[in-house]
Symmetry: C3
Subunit: 362 residues, 3 copies
């Protein structure tokens, strides 16, 4: 058996503070644009089955018990106690938390306390810019405040995270826009914008990315389910040698491409975790595919969990089980040595993240 | 063992009525633009090996017997008797038959009678439009007759099927064209067209798709081997909430993308079957990949078989074996419960298709 | 067990003649744009682990011994003796060698002698054109000399190889350029060029490809890690029926697409080997994926090795092990017959390459 005693979750969100019924819980298992189709339920997915496999025992129930039983027990314990049991049962000892969602979720301190773990903040660039826009009167003050906010965030956060790729379909130019373009785009955006309005302007998204690159903090790039290769290759080339690491998030079904880029560029890293949560019983196969091309010092575990502590649990358990099976299988057939396997497991589970984000060893 | 006693084949064609020699049989195993390369044969493919594995026993021969022996026995029994034995040995109890091919193949009634199964018609939109064009004198009569034909077909068929994606490389605009564009395109097409001429005009292909969407009948979309994601995402978004289901056909090697879309959009479904026939001994691996992201209520079995009843057999047997191995394996390792596995197997084999196409339970 | 006694390596380079230290050896394990990231090493990759698994026993060490031990032993034996032992332990009996790299590597005769194998030359088109340009004074003499050089090379080499796809991102037009375009492009390139300058002009790259197609010699097409499908489909269609075979090289992670194209076009072939070297312990899974769609007479083994004889060894051993496991597994579960498996193994290991390149049987 390969041991992975301690996990660093390099990207997640907090959990909901409210009690959940069957329907509200189910809604957090979906990942789509709408409710389940008539005659179907989001419980009938790999994620739903994985939740029913791993979580009931942490609340004193049998694995695979019916969802209504599980939710009744969860409410009986209360959201706080159920959350504590789940998070402490996950094996995660450090959370890096993206605080840039509109949902009312627990923040890093509250999540860490519930889970008996350390916790660190990841700042989402687009929300930061929207918040700065809400309080800036002019283009000049907006741009000045933005630079100052990113600079300030860099002194307390462990990473920046960007959803520019998701918002603009990976068609962004890889270079930084020039000052005139930025002022023009800022002026148009501020003039047309309501308070709370979302940032989708490509020039400002690029400007934000490059302010973040200049900060030197690791930058996480989300790209949804589009083929990220062309854009990310060009952006990686444009940022090579600047001293800032890029972490490619959520690559499925392009996880092999992300692993490839992590092998090509010294400052590029790949993520694993959300793909495992989505694919459940197939997590072992997915992890094996990622481990084809990624250098072993370039892969980082994360859960991507949001709202439900069940998702932190499922990510961690699937990851540990998959890592044990994949690496253990290679040891059994003689392809890897046992000591190499233990060493690589510790790197992916925690060591790589500690090094990239400058976290203290646990 | 996971049981899947009854299969609904949600997409296939009829079979040839003529006796076949080695060369004519082999030609139906290829999937390409031309004959086999010098020094090679289409029997040396996964499909060829799968036919030699599964079909000889249904004609009283040993599995893997040489192809000439198999074909001699097939001719000895005669095409009718051989077809009856093969189709009845497939385990398929309902066929949904695309009747829109130029080949002289058995229709739904004849296929169902030979196979001891029920059979239903799927109408291919592009052939319907070409037939209407053959008998319409003016643009106005063509467009009127087209709407009437689609409407009429919707009352007898169980689904529409479209090869617009294959004919126009998935570069179609997702929105319906406006009436002026449609009249213009129809005028140009009819003026230039010979009787029997193929429909490839993108405006008319889009017009056809949207007439079909308006009918409310499930619409099957074929996309060949191109990456369907961008186009299908936009078309799915454009048709969301209209009450018409879309079934994504033949996704390999983009089956994971199709499964992803079925998870994102409530009205989108994914297909499995032809990918299994093409990949033979790898069918188990393929099915497992599809089952990563597809919600279990969103996947439908089909054979995609055309011309040879052997292909219906191979699709059904490979599917049943793969389903048993994949789901049975997950039960064995504790990832799924046995009752969930049985339930999901019945959904993918038949239940989902019965619900989507409104078929009576067998 | 499936036997593959003799391997034809349809694409490789020679090996270095100099002694290597830990750092210079490690540099040849990377495949990227830069050194390993801080805190990481290229030894911690599937390729690095595979080298440590397969090569130490050929130099009298234990598998998985530490890299410094291995390199000390390698220097103790000397680069010539170590190279002899490694190459002769690989199981490769014929090398097809791309001589078009600037590195100082052993040529075909020297590689063959060291490995106790036959060796044949592959001519890289782009280098040939650059060499012709270095010695041609005018556009007319350049174009004349180029045609003559390609023609001459065709009489001694077994294949041409082209990196046009890597240099121009697979956005090349599939048709041959016309004579006026070629003269214009040649004039501009020669006027702007320094001696040794690289050929990246798309018109001249296309012109070169079409001169090679006219020679009738098999043409190997490299496409890096971009999705080659659109370009290669169009180029395959443009060259269909001309009598020249195309061999698609290095497809990962698009190996399934390459296998698909080999199934669609009679004159298109697919390559396996470099993908196995890169993915190491996953070689079995990769080979299985390639064998989904490729007709078994259309797949050819190669190592893609460059500089280190260790890479020839790893490619050969991973391939033989993977082939044994994949085909042996299918025999064990009844999907394939034993005689079919042995026959297909011999085809992929050597027979297909002998037929395509017109090599004598060993």
């Amino acid at each position: 058996m390969i041991d992975t005693p301690s996990l660093v979750d390099q990207y997640c969100h907090g959990v909901l503070r409210t009690e959940l019924g069957l329907g509200t819980f189910e809604a957090h298992l979906g990942r789509g644009e709408g409710p389940p189709a008539p005659g179907t339920t989001f419980f009938d997915t790999q994620t739903g089955f994985a939740v029913r496999r791993w979580c009931p025992p942490l609340l004193d129930l049998e694995p695979h018990c019916p969802a209504p039983h599980y939710l009744a027990r969860r409410r009986e314990l209360g959201v706080v106690e159920a959350g504590r049991r789940l998070l402490r049962g996950s094996g995660i000892t450090a959370y890096l938390v993206d605080t840039g969602l509109p949902d009312d979720l627990t923040g890093p301190a509250e999540l860490g306390a519930a889970g008996g773990a350390s916790a660190h903040e990841i700042v989402r660039l687009e929300l930061l810019a929207e918040q700065v826009a809400d309080t800036s009167g002019t283009v000049e003050s907006f741009l000045g405040n933005l630079a100052e906010s990113v600079h300030g965030a860099a002194s307390t956060a462990v990473a920046f995270t960007s959803v520019a790729g998701e918002r603009h379909g990976l068609a962004l130019a890889p270079e930084p826009p020039d000052a005139g373009e930025v002022r023009g785009a800022a002026g148009r955006w501020l003039a047309a914008r309501q308070v709370g309005g979302e940032l989708t302007d490509p020039v400002l998204l690029r400007h934000l990315l490059w302010i973040a690159v200049a900060s030197g903090l690791p930058l996480q790039l989300h790209s949804g389910a589009s083929n990220p290769q062309d854009y990310l290759t060009r952006f990686a080339r444009a940022t090579a040698g600047l001293g800032t690491d890029l972490v490619l998030m959520h690559g499925y079904p392009y996880h092999r491409h992300a692993a490839h880029l992590a092998g090509v560029f010294p400052h590029v890293y790949a993520d694993v975790g959300p793909a495992l949560v989505r694919t459940g019983a197939r997590a072992t196969a997915l992890l094996a595919e990622i481990l084809e091309l990624v250098p072993f010092g370039k892969l980082l575990f994360s859960s991507g969990a949001r709202g439900l502590p069940e998702l932190h649990v499922v990510a961690a358990r699937l990851f540990q089980e998959a890592l044990g099976r994949v690496l253990g299988g290679w040891v059994a057939e003689g392809a890897w040595s046992r000591s190499d396997a233990d060493r690589v497991a510790a790197m992916i589970a925690a060591g790589n993240a500690r090094r990239v984000y400058g976290l203290a060893a646990s």
